[in-house]
């Protein structure tokens, strides 16, 4: 895993099909929002998925979101 960035994690009630999302903040930190409706185990998986976006530098890539998601889902760790 890359050097740890400042990652803030929040829970929010959101539609069931939206598991979570991450915003790249202006100061270089990240805010991860996880769906509070999910089970604790699923929330952890979502958090790990969002960390894959951060560690994979996906916010800097110019790929379309389809490719970014497919690659993120294939990544391990």
């Amino acid at each position: 895993m890359n050097e740890l960035e400042d990652v803030y994690v929040r829970l929010a009630d959101m539609p069931a099909t939206l598991y979570g999302f991450t915003r790249a903040n202006c100061d270089g930190s990240y805010t991860v929002i996880v769906n509070s409706r999910l089970s604790p185990e699923r929330r952890l998986k979502v958090y790990r998925h969002e960390l894959r976006h951060i560690n994979g530098l996906d916010f800097e890539k110019e790929y379309n979101v389809d490719l970014i998601e497919k690659i993120a889902h294939k990544r391990k760790g």
Partner: protein, 126 residues
């Protein structure tokens, strides 16, 4: 495989180095792919960038059924709804948002709009 990639780069008017940079690969890594097969993720990334299928890159027969250039609509997508994909793309690219999601492939546009509502209400920056 390397020769095939080199040919495709030439057709697109780009160098191997440019391809490597665009795909997040270290310089010189593609040239090693004839001896050491890359991970599927890296292969997929390069194939998608060049507009071909992974099978085409891996095939040793130049006269395969796969044509060098695949239409975007033939490539497998993640988001199944076109409007959703456009919104997700907007969230990703727009400097005001810079958001990536973890969502069901079937998520509807009205559900993904939650992101906009949330950020407008709470700002998002810590």
């Amino acid at each position: 495989m390397y020769e095939k990639i080199k040919m495709l780069c030439k057709e697109k008017g780009i160098s191997i180095r440019t391809l490597e940079s665009a795909c997040g690969l270290s310089h010189g890594s593609v040239s090693k792919w004839d001896k050491h097969e890359p991970s599927h993720g890296k292969l997929y990334t390069v194939a998608d960038y060049l507009g071909v299928s992974v099978n085409y890159l891996l095939s040793e027969n130049p006269d395969t059924d796969d044509t060098p250039v695949q239409k975007i609509e033939q490539q497998e997508v993640y988001y199944l709804d076109n409007d959703t994909r456009e919104i997700a793309e907007f969230y990703h690219k727009n400097p005001q948002y810079r958001v990536l999601l973890d969502a069901s492939r079937k998520i509807r546009p009205e559900d993904i709009d939650f992101v906009r509502q949330f950020l407008e209400k709470f700002g998002g920056d810590e």
